[in-house]
């Protein structure tokens, strides 16, 4: 295993814009066939991360590699093995959609023409119109088709499905699953949590240019608070000394709280009372992200109530 080269490798990669630290010593690897989601609030540094990986921006320090090739100094060789979907696709207004696909296919060095036609059909894309007349969603389809039709071993995506309607979003997720089944590696930045949940093996969360969370979804779920909802009859259970619980609400026969870590102390405490129903669930991805993105820790709490 020691000799296998990661498909994507960030090694203490930093990017500063003047005084602003957009990316701070990012270290992250993506192995072959992995699907990694890059998450974070707006302005967290996701696009800077991807543009550094693509050699469009030079890291202030550290390096980014694709299949062991330096992203900045060796972009041509690196780009032979990847395809990229930007979040916003600026078109040449005078070229038709079909011509743009031809062009990008030619520049990519090769593509699967049959697969392109299939994608054009599946995305219900009309390639005969001039670039200027496409809507945002249709422009995004050009980017998606142009990237997927190359069948590159690495797919890099920056909010790839922005502007797609729900039907097209489902089609796009099908394509991601197909790419995953073929063994393509994907690094995906997205705000669409269902997309991330559906395809990603791992997620990395950036905040203010720093990698704050990293792991499989199951790990992240496990490490975070579970929501407990129960009802009681008669005397409420005494929860004052229970370790690992917070946001406790006990009133009128209803208990709601969050528990982190072992549930054993909580269950023992609840057993002291009459508890006819108990529900415990993992945090939803959305709740996880509320936790990740929430910067209120840095702000003195004083708004409760």
């Amino acid at each position: 295993m020691a000799t296998s080269i990661p498909v994507v490798r960030f090694d203490e990669t930093s990017k500063h814009f003047g005084e602003v630290v957009a990316l701070d010593k990012l270290t992250l690897e993506v192995g072959e066939g992995e699907i990694v989601g890059l998450l974070g609030p707006n302005g967290a540094g996701k696009t800077t991360t991807l543009r550094t990986l693509l050699g469009l921006m030079k890291p202030t320090s550290g390096r980014a590699e694709i299949f062991g090739l330096d992203a900045w100094s060796d972009p041509i060789a690196a780009h032979r093995q990847l395809a990229y979907i930007p979040g916003e696709f600026h078109v040449w207004p005078q070229l038709t959609g079909g011509q743009i696909l031809d062009l990008l296919g030619a520049v990519s060095g090769g593509y699967d023409a049959a697969y392109r036609d299939e994608l054009v059909e599946r995305f219900n894309f009309d390639p005969s119109k001039k670039g200027r007349s496409y809507s945002k969603g249709n422009r995004q389809k050009i980017a998606i088709i142009a990237a997927l039709m190359t069948r590159a071993p690495l797919l890099v995506m920056d909010e790839p499905s922005s502007g797609l309607d729900p039907l097209m979003e489902a089609t796009f997720q099908d394509c991601l699953r197909a790419a995953k089944a073929r063994g393509q590696t994907i690094l995906l930045s997205s705000h669409i949590l269902s997309e991330v949940e559906a395809v990603c093996d791992r997620v990395a969360v950036l905040r203010q240019g720093v990698l704050v969370e990293h792991g499989t979804l199951a790990d992240l779920r496990h490490l975070h608070a579970h929501t407990v909802e129960a009802t009681y009859v008669g005397q409420p259970p005494i929860l004052d000394d229970v370790a690992g619980i917070e946001d406790v609400y006990v009133q009128d026969g209803v208990i709601r709280l969050q528990v982190t870590g072992s549930t054993d102390p909580l269950l023992k405490a609840l057993a002291e009372a009459e508890v006819p129903s108990l529900q415990m669930r993992e945090p939803s991805l959305e709740e996880l992200f509320h936790a990740f993105y929430d910067e209120s820790e840095d702000v003195p709490a004083g708004t409760a109530g």
Binding site: L56, P93, T96, L103, V107, K130, R132, H224, E287
Partner: protein
């Protein structure tokens, strides 16, 4: 890896709960909204306006303060005054009146400065009224409490404001320079009205087509026609009233000898009113639409596929190359047609020797000399085309379209060099077309220069355009966000340095900085091979420096 845990926060109320807020937070009056958009437009115009006002008013002021030193003796003044009524000079410079007076000397420069003011006006208007719309900047404004016409009128008012400042700058500086106050202020007013008239034409073109390039092209054609009519008006056989058929001709009647200032102002104000009224009527249209049928955006039938980035570069260059090649060709044809008239008139001048010395052009009494004198105009056209290509290259980066190509296995240097080589080739083609048409012009009026001489006159202009291209590439690499202002300023500045530098009594060493000064008057003189080689070498160095810097820097959005 350290895992940070974040405590779930209870639902926090918003700082301002909205239940008790009125529906309209601050009921701004329509006038206040309009004022805000006016200020916004003024801000967009500010930097360009400062550069144009300081540049044009400053150079003209320089002409005024150095006039008496320049023409210190009666002989020198008399030689200068012989320009009056000579068709080819008036074709170049506009109508010439009262050249023995300071006022006449300064006004004689405004045939060209007026064209520059017109270009400023048209570019400013298209930028404010069409480019901003194309880029999506107008959409949020139009979603506000302001109508399409309100937005238009605020932009027009902002332009009127900067043009009024332009008038004041000229009037005040020229009066201070010792020019007759009435003439100074008349010049200021008329110069502002030229800029305003072409801005109004730009505003009208912006209502007609959905693309800023096409709008610029339309108003550019209008400017070209206005200039063509002025050139025709200069010919000896043309009746006097033809000067009045073009807004660029009216500027020639500002001298007090003509007693025509009221007519000049009425003419500008009348045309301006018509243009503004039509623009206002047409402004009530769909967002992103034009009033002219734009053709369909759906392409039926097979289209030739774009086979790669070289093909893309050719397609992106072809349109502007056709337009600018046509302009260079028409300029060459026009001067070819005038060459005989010009050489005969010069041969009749008593001060032929002084004139030749003053202008530094040889054999001006021959068609070859006339063509050599005129072809520097072809040079500026080609250099402006080159600057435009550099700006177009930067535009691919600024709009981030370049990303689609550079994330694929295509190196930055190869992409950049391909674009530049295609532009350089387009310059060669345009120069050859200009050469052939220059020859054709002389042949049509029965005073033909040799075909190879015509061709050579065109070829002689290639190095200076390549120089502009190369220096522009260096700017793209080193200071990408300044590409358009710096590149255009270098080209126009170099031309003006040559054109008015002599009059400003600048030291020779400074004047020699302008490459236009080193263009030989081919075909009357031999190609200045040394200068040509230096220009090509500096251009190449610019490409090398620019490409190396472009390879080493981050891509930068607009």
């Amino acid at each position: 890896m350290a895992i940070t845990l974040h405590r779930r926060q209870p639902e926090r109320p918003l700082a301002v709960t909205d239940a008790d807020q009125p529906l309209v937070i601050e009921a701004r009056s329509p006038a206040a909204v309009w004022w805000r958009t006016y200020v916004h437009n003024l801000r967009l115009l500010r930097n360009g306006a400062v550069a144009w006002i300081v540049g044009l008013a400053g150079i003209s002021w320089g002409v005024a303060v150095t006039f008496e030193d320049r023409y210190a003796t009666p002989e020198e003044l008399a030689a200068f005054a012989e320009f009056e009524g000579v068709p080819a000079f008036e074709a170049l410079l506009g109508r010439l009146v009262g050249l023995t007076t300071l006022e006449g000397g300064v006004l004689s420069r405004w045939g060209i400065f007026g064209v520059l003011a017109a270009i400023w006006g048209m570019l400013a208007a298209v930028r404010l009224l069409r480019r901003a719309e194309e880029a999506g900047h107008l959409e949020p404004l139009r979603a506000g409490a302001v109508s399409a016409r309100g937005l238009l009128s605020s932009a027009l008012a902002a332009m009127a404001t900067v043009f009024a400042l332009f008038a004041v700058a000229i009037g005040a500086t020229h009066t201070a320079a010792g020019m007759d106050a009435a003439t100074s202020w008349a010049l200021g007013g008329a110069a502002a009205l030229v800029a305003a008239t072409f801005a109004a034409a730009g505003a009208l073109a912006s209502q007609l087509t959905p693309s800023h390039r096409r709008a610029t092209g339309l108003v550019g054609i209008f400017l070209g026609l206005a200039l063509a009519v002025r050139i025709v008006a200069a010919a000896s056989a043309t009746p006097e009233w033809v000067w009045w058929a073009t807004p660029l001709g009216w500027l020639g009647f500002l001298h007090e000898l003509d007693q025509a200032r009221t007519a000049v102002f009425l003419a500008y104000l009348g045309l301006l009113a018509v243009l503004v009224a039509v623009t206002y009527l047409l402004a009530d249209r769909d967002l992103h639409a034009g009033r002219l049928a734009a053709g369909t955006d759906v392409v039926t039938g097979a289209r030739r596929p774009v086979t790669g980035q070289l093909d893309l570069a050719i397609r992106l260059t072809a349109g502007p190359a056709r337009t600018w090649g046509l302009v260079a060709g028409l300029v060459a044809l026009g001067f070819g047609l005038l060459a005989r008239d010009f050489s005969v008139a010069v041969a009749d001048l008593e001060t032929m020797a002084e004139l030749t010395a003053m202008l530094g052009y040889p054999a001006m009494d021959t068609p070859e000399g006339a063509l050599g004198f005129a072809f520097s105009w072809v040079g500026i056209v080609l250099a402006v085309f080159a600057a435009g290509q550099v700006v177009a290259v930067r535009d691919e980066e600024a709009t981030w379209r370049i990303e689609h190509l550079l994330v694929r296995p295509l190196g930055r240097i190869r992409w950049l060099v391909t674009r530049i080589v295609v532009a350089a080739a387009a310059i060669v083609l345009a120069a050859l077309v200009a050469g052939v048409l220059g020859w054709l012009g002389t042949a049509l009026v029965g005073a033909p220069v040799a075909f190879t001489d015509g061709l050579l006159a065109g070829i002689n202009m290639i190095p200076i355009a390549w120089l502009a291209l190369g220096v522009g590439v260096a700017v793209v690499g080193l200071a990408p966000r300044l590409t358009a202002p710096v590149t255009y300023a270098l080209v126009v500045g170099a031309y003006l340095l040559d054109f008015v530098g002599g009059m400003l009594e600048l030291p020779e060493a400074v004047l020699d900085l302008s490459p236009f000064r080193h263009l030989a008057a081919v075909p009357a003189a031999d190609v200045n091979v040394g200068a040509a080689l230096v220009m090509v070498a500096v251009g190449l160095a610019g490409v090398v420096v620019g490409a190396a810097a472009f390879r080493r820097r981050d891509l930068k959005e607009a």
